[in-house]
């Protein structure tokens, strides 16, 4: 399949989603209220917002790991019900299977789909892609956070999913590793053209990576606004446009106070 072919696939349509959690005492929490988004094929879209805004819930709904009370999600006009390997998911804490080594973790998708024998050679390719050559036989506890997350990414990508769902995959990493992996992510996305939905609360990350940014607000979780990022890639983190966009988002998230006092006077 060529990149052009892939790009035609992977459109997500989310309409009228409501998700309410009811706890043991019977009290209700509205995690998502009337959420509507259309994601274009091959688009890199980010969900950002404070904790409790339902961004992870929305991602889990797309993955089929959770069910909404009302509303529909469809991928390429097929309704989502339950999980499917076409919707790959990368978890916050790599979530590699600790009892399998790197090689078997990355191969897990092929084994689960019973196509391991035919596609065995893919495994080596994805190990190399994740920069884990030489660590095939290592167990997850022997890997650094960045390595584990790269393995986790490779594990999701080996299934060649139409949509890649990323649940704060870089949130637990140190900033050097995070920036490094952001570039890796962008490189993979450019090469493969997979529709990507990223959940994060890192404003820099959002501006650096996204085509579109969905800003969400909590209690009840809903979409505040959707912003197009019309910056050329690769994006310079210190460019004026970048900083302007960053400030814009911080303002929308009410994280910039006008009353900030400067730290020092000249």
């Amino acid at each position: 399949m060529t990149v052009e072919n892939i790009r035609k696939l992977g459109s997500i349509s989310i309409s009228g989603i409501n998700r309410t959690y009811i706890d043991a005492n019977g009290s209700e929490t509205e995690a998502l209220q009337n959420v509507n988004i259309d994601v274009q094929p091959g688009e890199f879209i980010t969900l950002i917002g404070p904790s409790g805004c339902g961004k992870t819930t929305l991602l889990r709904l797309i993955a089929g790991l959770d069910k909404a009370q009302s509303g529909e999600i469809s991928l390429d006009n097929v309704l989502v019900s339950g999980t499917h390997y076409e919707r790959g998911y990368v978890f916050q804490h790599a979530n590699l299977f600790p009892w399998e080594n790197v090689e078997n973790n990355i191969a897990a998708g092929l084994k689960a789909r019973k196509i391991y024998k035919e596609k065995k050679q893919d495994v080596a390719h994805f190990i190399e892609l994740a920069g884990l050559t030489g660590f095939e036989k290592s167990y997850p506890h022997q890997l650094s956070g960045g390595m584990a997350q790269r393995a986790s990414l490779a594990r999701a990508l080996i299934n060649d999913p139409k949509v890649l769902l990323l649940d704060e995959p870089l949130g637990a990493l140190d900033s050097f590793t995070r920036i490094d992996l952001q570039d890796k992510l962008l490189e993979l996305w450019t090469e493969r053209g997979t529709t990507t939905v990223l959940v994060t609360h890192d404003v820099d990350e959002v501006v650096y990576l996204s085509d579109r940014i969905v800003i969400m607000t909590p209690r009840p979780g809903k979409i505040e606004s959707i912003i197009n990022v019309n910056l050329k890639r690769p994006r310079a983190r210190n460019s004026d446009e970048f900083i302007a966009m960053r400030t814009n988002i911080l303002e929308r998230l009410h994280l910039v106070s006008s009353k900030v006092q400067p730290d020092y006077y000249l």
């Binding site: 993955a63 089929g64 790991l65 339950g82 999980t83 499917h84 390997y85 919707r87 790959g88 998911y89 978890f91 979530n95 299977f97 600790p98 009892w99 399998e100 080594n101 897990a108 998708g109 084994k111 689960a112 789909r113 167990y139 997850p140 506890h141 022997q142 594990r155 999701a156 299934n159 769902l165």
Partner: protein
């Protein structure tokens, strides 16, 4: 100002560094694992103590009717072993470390042998037949080696068959209980109740239910292994983090994959806890059931020897049990380390 601060800081830094070096060099010398690693005295003393035991056995007059030949040969073999190990340790660091580590311990063991010998064959101080000398126990072991061997093989056959069936049944039912709500609802109460009953309490009932004591014994061992393995397997599955199942499902896993590639491997640490709990219980069940109703095996041997008031044989079979059961335990630990290799580092 700047210059001053640097001149003040420098010596401080320097002294800190030299202190650090001191600590690390001490750490290298201090070995946390080995006992008296560099002792030159104890490795020699352990040999001398066993030589003393041999001398006591040969030159102090004996007051009991015992063939001391096996005991003396045993001591000579032990002395030979330690001499050889001391020689090897001159060239091999690892051997030296473990030789030195154990030297003081074996020295005391040798003293205890001398004490035992003095209180029995040399003085007749401890009442016979209840407290025979080691010499007599070894004499019996040599004389009765064939019967002991056959008894051991019978016991092992029973243990291996019962343990294998029990583990498999325990695993299967544990996985079913841990995975399916229906199985949990109907079977878990049974496990809970059966689990608290000592299996040996069933012996009178099993003896008439089963056509032969052999099948009854196998059933008892299966039963005592089944409970801890099933319980720990189901417990292990229930406690696996949900996110592993979620990850597998997003990768396209079906239920079969979830059970065999996530639930079972994830529950393995817990399953092994169940297995070695079961091992201990199964030894007890084996011996008790053999003592009560069997016609072969180490438990039977104990009971048979007791009825002849031959306590030396009782001790002989206890020694054999210690050796055989330790080997079984070691094998199980070896298998566990192999299976749970992914956990290494997590454990320590």
């Amino acid at each position: 100002m700047k210059q001053e601060s640097t001149t003040i800081k420098l010596p401080v830094l320097h002294s800190k560094q030299s202190k650090k070096l001191d600590v690390s060099s001490k750490l290298i010398i201090k070995d946390e694992i080995h006992w008296k690693k560099d002792s030159k005295l104890w490795p020699i003393l352990q040999i001398l103590a066993f030589v003393a035991a041999l001398i006591v056995s040969i030159y102090v007059p004996t007051k009991q009717m015992v063939d001391l030949q096996p005991y003396r040969i045993f001591l000579i073999i032990v002395i030979g072993f330690f001499v050889a190990r001391n020689i090897i340790s001159l060239f091999n660091r690892k051997v030296k470390a473990s030789n030195n580590h154990q030297a003081q311990f074996y020295f005391v063991v040798a003293l205890l042998l001398i004490l035992w010998d003095s209180l029995t064959t040399k003085s007749n101080y401890l009442p016979l037949p209840f407290f025979p000398s080691l010499g007599q126990v070894l004499q019996v072991m040599v004389e009765d080696a064939y019967t002991l061997l056959i008894s051991t093989l019978f016991s092992m056959r029973l243990l291996i068959i019962g343990f294998s069936i029990g583990t498999v049944v325990g695993l299967v039912s544990g996985v079913l209980i841990g995975w399916y709500k229906e199985w949990c609802y109907w079977l878990f109460p049974l496990i809970k109740v059966m689990g608290v009953i000592p299996v040996t309490a069933w012996i009178p009932i099993m003896m008439f239910i089963f056509p032969s004591s052999f099948y009854a014994q196998i059933f008892l061992i299966v039963l005592c292994v089944w409970f801890p393995v099933a319980y720990m397997a189901s417990n292990g599955i229930v406690n696996i983090e949900k996110s592993y199942f979620e990850a597998a499902r997003t990768l396209g896993a079906n239920e079969r994959f979830l059970i065999f590639k996530i639930a079972i491997p994830g529950a393995m640490p817990s399953i092994f806890t169940g297995i070695y709990t079961a091992t201990g219980i199964s030894f007890a069940t084996l011996v008790v059931s053999e003592i009560i109703g069997a016609k072969a095996g180490l438990g039977w041997y104990i009971n048979w020897a007791k009825s002849w008031s031959n306590y030396a044989k009782v001790y002989a079979s206890i020694i054999v049990m210690a050796v055989v059961f330790s080997i079984v335990m070691a094998i199980i630990f070896r298998v566990r380390d192999r299976v749970l290799i992914w956990q290494k580092g997590l454990l320590k």
